[in-house]
Each structure stands twice: as C-alpha cells, then as structure tokens.
Symmetry: D5
Subunit: 129 residues, 10 copies
C-alpha cells in the first residue's frame, strides 16, 4: 500500500457480519484549506459505524484523510463529502461522522452527519444502570 | 462584508439539503448590558441547528453577536430574541440556543430555547454503544 | 427591594410565554442549620424550570435563599419546601430542584424533587448527534 | 443511638409522600473482607431511592455500613444483600445500589442492582435541554 | 487455579438470579500482537453483563486475558471473539464488550459488541433525576 | 466539649515535637457577613502549619470557624485575624492561612497570610524527581 | 460610589501592614477593542499583590476594569498600563498582573508584568511538603 | 510469606545503591480506628524514599498497612509512627510519608513527615524546561 | 500584510522596555512533513519571551508558522530552527520554545529550547504563597 | 531497520549541540514479566534528556522497549537498567527516566532515576511568571 495521499478507501471483510456492532475511529489530524482565504483549517474527525460486509482499512483511511491537505473545503460541505465517500466504500448499516473544527474568528464550529441503510433497523439500545 | 456590528445575518445555501445533519457553533464572547444597572453582562452562547435551505454565515454571525455590546437586555428575553432572529434568517428544520451567563449576585443562570419547523419530524436518534 | 433575608419571592412576566423554554439557576451558597444538632449545613441548589406566566426574579431568589440561614431544616423536607414555595410563586409548567448537601458523617446526600403542571405535556426532546 | 456497628437500619417518616422524588447517598468508606483470602476489600457505594413511607436515617446507615468491616463477602452477593436489607427496612417505591470496588488483580469491578415496588409506575422523565 | 495464561473461563453460580442486575469489569491490561507487523497492540477492555446462572470468575478472566499476549489479532475480530468466548462460558442474559485500542498511525480505534439472550427482555430503565 | 460556636481554640500536645512535619487542614464551610451590606460571604480556608508543642484540636477548630457565622468581616482583615488567633493558641514554628472567597461582583478574591516563629529555620526542602 | 465606568481607583487602609501577605483577585470579564480592527477583545486578568499601606477597593476595581470597554488597546501595552495605574493607586510592596487573552487568528496570547518596590525584600518562601 | 496482617516489614537489597534514585508508592487503602469514638478512619498514604541498602518489599508493606485495621490511632501520631517503622526497617537516605485522611466533621486533614539520614546530602535538583 | 505563508517575521516596538515582562503565545496548529516518510506531522508550539526592543507581530507569526506546511523537518532540528529565527527577528532578553508533537509509533515526543541574551540577568522570581 | 524487538539503540547526531535543550519522550506501552510470578507487568515510561552529541532514534527506542516483553524484571532494577542502556548509547549531558507501574496488590509504584555527566553544569533555570 502506498504512503501517498489517496482518495481510494481500502476495505476488508467484516469478521462478524451477524452482529450489529460498532466501530469508532477518532482522527485528530485532519487539515484542509479555507476556500475563501486559502489559509489552513484544522479539525478532529470521529467516525462511528455499524459495518455490513466491509470495514474500512485504517492505513487507507489515514491516506484518504491526508488527501485533503491541499484542498479548499467549507466546513459543512467537506463533512458531508467525507461521509459520502466512506458510505460508498463500505456500504455500512449505519455511519456517523463528527467534525470538530478549530476556532475561527472566536467561533467554535462542529458538523455531524449520519447515513442509515434504508433496510436497516437500529437495535433497541440496552441501557445498563 | 463590513467589520462593524450589524443585526443583518448573512446566509449561504445548505450544501447537503437531503440530509438532516447538525451544525453546532459555540460563541464564548457574547456581552450586553444589564437593563437595570447598565453594567456589562457576559455569556457563552451555543447554537445548534438542522439546516433547511440556508446556513448562517460565520463572520456575519460574529458581527450580529457584537451588535448587542451596547444594548440593555434581560437574560430570558435576549435568548429568545436571538433565537427568533436566527430562525427568521435561516428558516431551519430545528434550532436550539443555549445562553450560559456569568455569575451575578452569587447565582449562575442559563437559558435554553428551541424552535422546530411545524412540518419537520425529528429523526429517531441512533444510540451507538 | 430590600437587602434583608425574606421569604417573599418576587416575579416578573415571562417574556416569551408561547415557547416551552428552560431557565436553569445554580445557587452554590445555601446554608441552614441541622435541626438535631443546631450545627450549620451547606448545600448547592440547582433550580430548573419551564415558565408559564411568571419568572422568578434573581435578587429576590437570593434573599429567599438567605432566609434559611438561621432555620433548622432536614435535607428531605427543606428541598420539598423550597420547591413548593417556588411553585406557589411562579406556577410553572415544570420545575425541578436539586439539592446537593455537603458531606456529613462521611456520607454525601442529595435530594431531587420535581413539579409538573397537570395540564402540561412535556415536549418530545430533540436529541442532536 | 449507639456508635457501634449495627445491622439495624433506622428510618423516619417520608416528609413528602405525595411526590416521587429522589434521595441519593454516596458512601465512599465501605470495607469488608475477601471470603477467599481474608484480606480487606474496599468499595464506594451509591444508594438512590424514591421513598414510599420511610426514609433511611443517615447515622444508622453509617453504622450499618460499618457492620461489614469484619465480614467475608463476595462482590456480587454483598451488593444484592445490602440492597435487600435497605428494601426490607424502607419498602421504597424504587431503589438502586451501585458498588464500585477497588482494583483487584488489575481488574476493576462494579455491581449495580435495583428494586422496584410491583405497583409502582416510574414517572415519565422530563428531559430539559 | 493455575497462574499460567489459559483460554479456560471459570464461572461460579449467580448469587441472585431472580434479579436483572449488572456486573461491570474494566480490564486495562489487554495486549496482543498485530497480525500484519507482529508488533504489540494494547487495549483497555470493559465487560458489562446481566448474569443468568453463572458469573465469570475474576482470576480466570485475568488468565484468559493474558492468553492473547502472544497471539496475532485484528481489532474487530478479537473483540467479537472474546465476547463469543465469554457468552459461551456464562450464557448471560445480556453482555457487552468494549475494546479501546491505543493509537496506531495517529488513529484511535474502539470496537463495541453486544450479545442478548433471545428470550430476554431488557427491563425498562428507571432514569432518576 | 460544647457544640456551640466558640472562639476558644482547644489544643493537644504535639506527638512528635522532634520533627518539623506539616499538618494541613482544609475547611470548605467558612461563612461570615459582609460588613458593608450585611449579606452572607462564603470562603474555603486552608490551614497549614509546622507544630511546636501544641496541635489544634479538630472539633474545636470547627466550632471556632462556626463562630464567624454572624460576624461582619472584611476579607483581608478576617484572614489575618484567624491566623493571629491560631498562632496565639498553638505557638507554631510556621503557619499559613489561605482564604478563597466566593465570587462577588464578578471578582474572585483570595488572601494568604503566614506566621514564622522568629527562632525557626525552615528546613531545606528535598525535591524528589 | 458610582456605577459608571471610571478610571479612579479607590483604596482602603491595609488592615495588617506588619505582615507581607498576598491578595489575589481574578477578573474574568475584561474586554476592550482591538486598535487595528475595532473589534472586541476579551481577557481574564489576575492581580496578585503584597500591600503596603493601601488595598484596592473591589467595586472600584470593577468600575476601573469596565472603563476599557470602549477603548482601543494592544495586548502588551494595556497589561503594562493597568499595572502602572494599580501601582500608582496603591504603592504596593509587590504587584503582578497576568492577562490571558482569548484566541485570535488561532493564537493564544498572554502577558505577565510585575512591579517591585525598590526597598522591598521578598521573604524567603517556605515550601511545605 | 503470610497473608495475615503483620508489623514485620520485609526488605530486599537495593539493586542500584550507587545512585540517589526515588521510589514512590501510593497506598489508597489505609484504615484504622478513631481512638476517641472507635469509628473507622480512612486515609491514602504516599511513601517516597531514596534507598540506601534496603528497599521495602511490596507485599510486606501491604500486610503492614493492614495491621492498623483494628488499632486506634490519632492522625498526627500514626503518620509519624509509620514513618518511624519504615525508617527502622530500611535505613533510607531520605523518606517522606504523606497521609491524606478522609473528611471528618467537614474538615479535611493531611499530615506529612520526613526523615533524612544525617550524612546524606540531597542532590541539587535538575529542573528541565 | 499578505495572507501567504512567509518566512518573514514582522515586529513592532516593545511598549514597555523598562520592564522585564513575559509574553506567552500558544500555537496549536503547527504542521510539517516527516523527512523520512513524507507524511504530515503535527505539533503544538508554545513561545515564551521577555522582549528587549521588538515584539513579534501575531499575524506575521501565524504566516511564519504556516510556511512549514510543505517542509520536511525533524523534531529536534525544527524546534531549534524556529527558535533561531525568532531570536534573529526580535533579539529578545530571553526566549523559550516548546514543541509538543503528536504521537508517532506509540511514542509522544516534545522538545524545549531556550535562548538567553548574554548580558541579561534573569530577575529573582517572587513566589507568592 | 528491523521490526523485531532489539536491545540495540540507534542514535543520530544532535542537530544543535551548542544548546542545552531538552527532549522528552513518553512511552505508555512498556510491559515485562514479574520475576516472582511470571505474570505480565505494565508501566508508562517517561524519558527526559539533554543531548550531547547523539540523540536516540525513536523507532529504535520503540524496538528496545519491546524487547522487555518476555523478560522477568523487578521494578527498581529494570528502571535503572534501561537508564544505563540509554546513557551508554547516547552519552547525554543529563538524563532522567520515570517508570510509573500499574497497580499491584492495591499499591501503585513508580521509580525515578537520573544520570548526570560529571563535567556538565545544569543551567540556572529561568522561571517566567
Ligand atoms: Ca489538537
Ligand atoms: Ca462555513
Ligand atoms: Ca470566559
Ligand atoms: Ca433576569
Ligand atoms: Ca436526614
Ligand atoms: Ca476509593
Ligand atoms: Ca467475585
Ligand atoms: Ca494505560
Ligand atoms: Ca483493523
Ligand atoms: Ca463550595
Ligand atoms: Ca474587601
Ligand atoms: Ca499585539
Ligand atoms: Ca479515598
Ligand atoms: Ca487529631
Ligand atoms: Ca526524530
Ligand atoms: Ca519490587
């Protein structure tokens, strides 16, 4: 596998497809460019998903994240785009992407977007005391 | 765009209107005047919303916030007014404003208000373990 | 308005009665006397309510709190009494009082009590991701 | 009242039986003996309950806790036993006991058990924003 | 009982099978090997379960955890395997395993999987204020 | 010993007068009255001292603290007065009193005062890595 | 005393001038204007001093702080100016002013300045273990 | 080695006596009895020392700690006694014992005592930036 | 002033050169490339200095920081280089640069370097209790 | 360079040998075996040093750390041994190793050891306010 930035997302087979289980990946090193000013923007991404048949490969996810380093991207648009790419690659039962951007102009912005497979029913959560 | 305080709230088109996604903006530098004593009041605002067709522009939101610097405003009234102005400008599916005021007289006050579009149905939340 | 302790709770008109919004007031300086030993007790109160037609005035709330300084009061009884007084003064849609008492005999006690107007229906909470 | 360890749990009348309110008591100083090795075990207990006609008296609760100091007790069994004793003494509408034991063998164990009066209906919780 | 790593999970009878109560065990010292590189991986496991007839014995759980020290194991697969082994040994009403792995390549991964006995109905949670 | 507020500070013999050791007592429940407005003030005191021949008795220290509950007292003056009283009662080698007052007018004030016996030489501190 | 912003700093006599003791005041609500852009700046000030003959009066300090609300002020200059004004008003043995400004352009700036009376000798600090 | 409480402190040879290095042991599970009331007291001990020829064995230190479970002991006296016993057993170059007792009567007490071998010179600490 | 990355560091005159005061700037958004692998590295820089005649201008400092975004740089070398550049631009009395790099290979590295003007004497620090 | 555990410590030339600067490396994933029981032990190491002519290479340091995974090692001895190996490889001006071991038998142990080159004079630390 290359060590160049890449938009290709590698996957591997879900080792336990009978179960609705959750994979959570925190990515503190996302950076892109502000499309208005060209200056760097920084964010911490959190990806949470319930896999169907494919899981996203970690190193490939890192190279994908890296590929935005020289791209201009608005907060709201880039969060939805990354979610769309990850959904296209893994076709998950459920996926949520949270992007917490660094302060700009004294304001702290975050964006959260979700995808749900049409046929998928979220299991009733068990809340232990 | 001006760098004067302004009550005008600029917006831009929602880049992903097919999705119910959440934008969250923390605004730690709100200040106005107490209408009884004329002394400065301070608060941290948090705005959370699900956009419909328009998103609020960040710099414009900052200038709007600044416009209260010389205004007298009661805690309960100003929180509801800011929410009303933001709803009028963006016509969101859902919007919540939380105002956490600094201590006065040994008491710590916060006010939280919400707006919901009549036709909007909140999606069933997916609670991942 | 006096600066003497007082059991009178002043109120003012709710500036936005069309909305079910929440006012939250933290009161870290409550003190009364233990009815068994006469020694001082200390607690932090938190008041949360959805106003109907009246909001509680902050300075008056502070003088009311002060009025317990020389009173004997059991933990469970005084929490319910303060809630009753606040309900009588403001007739809210919903009100909750939380009293977190300082440690006594190595035990940490808190009491939480709520009032709900009979006709009031709590709005379905919107849980943003 | 004695200052000896005691299994007797004193109670007093609930001052506000018309309301479903919550009493929460944190007890950081529970210690007993491991029945296998005879060595001391330590835990922090948290008791939460909705009283019916009787509340548990704090000093008596402390003496009761003390009574386990020289007793052998398994984690799972002692948590259920203490809950049973407190239920027998107070006949509450609802009661929950949480026992967080200190690390043993590199493992951190806690046990949580609940009792619900058969006729009692838990009130719909009001979730304020 | 041996002090060698072992895949055998010892159990003991549930002391209070009439109750749906929760046992929670935090295991901060899990380590295995990365199947790709052979390098050590580290994780903190959290096990939560509602026992049926058997509880897992703590020392045996520690030896079981130790048995992965020289094994290659993918994050997603090993979490599901450990859950499967614990379910086979204790046949619980409900069981959840959370594995929080140490950072690799700047990414922080965790995996959460659950098992539910088919006949078991999760009790309605009581949410005290 | 009485359970009334009292300005008398009881002492007991220092059990190890050959050593320069440190006793530190945190007192979170100090309250007095503001001499200007008559309203209650609150502070957390911390007493640190190296005893000579006498140590201050804890229950007596609590009753002493209680004795300020109905007294008017300026921040700077009361901190120095309490230190003077404790020095008079125990004649320590070294004593420091820190008073952290609750917020007033948006300002957070604390006062720290020290006493050193003229003949006492502070031991060279050993700073372990 | 007025409730208008004011550059006049009121003082009162030091109640214990024989002692080198420390008064520490945290002022979280400082705001001025950026001299380049005219936009609001925010900072938290901390004042620490050893008084000589005069202490600064708290309400007057608050009105003084308020007087910068409509003034343009560079970070480095305003911190030194406030220290100079406080030194002129109180002539302390020692005084330190710390100004922690809110983030601007992704950078977090603070400035710390001190004044020492020429004749004053700082007491050797006693470091208790 | 026994698993009974014991006042005997086992030691082992210091593996690196040429170096002044520091061993720090936190002991959160100390409990004894109050000599006045007979009720349990709890403390967290921290032992720090620079060994000479002997180090204290950990299991023996645990059994020693356990031996106070049924003993009456004043805060100030027991801290000095434990330090004396540890000094007698290990003859260290330097040793410090810190005892942080649980709250009693609303007061939080800790005691810190040190021993220094007469011939030992504390090395000049290197303070890295 | 440009909004392009730039190695030019702008300065402005120190407004209070008579005083040894401290300016501290935290820069959380430093990123460069690993010279071995070409992959992005991330760090948080903290600059602390006592100015002589010039202070570093904040916006210029930001553009300077940005200029490393496409540069290969070893941890130890880049920290010393940035310090050298800042010293050359401002000729400070004292300057310290701390670089805290994100985890790589499970290891967390930071580097701290200082410059001191030969003629400058650090003032004796006043340690207030 | 290999990806096998290895006792060989690679180094590279110090890029700035004229300066006394500090490199600090936190290593949270150290594990070895208890020489008495054969069971795994875990620790977090922190290495701090002032380089002379050589710096330790990070990947080699990781492989070195890994080489203890199957070794029996006492807390006090292994900390001193690792420091000795690192000193032998880099011949630093100053080096400190801190090892914080996980809890064993309810006790939390850490060991700190330092090496100082005989000819090296620690620079006078500059303590900025
Ligand atoms: Ca960061
Ligand atoms: Ca935007
Ligand atoms: Ca603030
Ligand atoms: Ca109001
Ligand atoms: Ca009671
Ligand atoms: Ca504990
Ligand atoms: Ca057990
Ligand atoms: Ca860990
Ligand atoms: Ca994987
Ligand atoms: Ca408090
Ligand atoms: Ca005053
Ligand atoms: Ca500036
Ligand atoms: Ca404790
Ligand atoms: Ca005592
Ligand atoms: Ca390097
Ligand atoms: Ca050992």
């Amino acid at each position: 596998m290359s060590t160049q930035p890449s938009r290709v997302l590698e996957t591997f087979p879900n080792p336990q497809p009978e179960r609705d289980y959750c994979i959570r990946i925190r990515i503190p090193e996302f950076t892109c460019l502000c499309p208005k000013t060209g200056q760097p923007d920084f964010a911490e991404l959190t990806l949470e998903y319930v896999p169907e048949e494919r899981c996203v490969e970690l190193k490939s996810l890192k190279l994908y994240t890296w590929s935005f380093r020289d791209e201009g991207a608005f907060h709201e648009a880039v969060t939805n785009q990354i979610l769309d790419d990850l959904v296209a690659a893994t076709q998950p039962r459920f996926m949520r992407l949270t992007a917490v951007f660094n302060v700009r102009g004294g304001l702290y912005t975050s964006v959260v977007a979700e995808h749900r497979a049409p046929a998928w029913q979220a299991p009733q959560p068990v809340q232990l005391p």
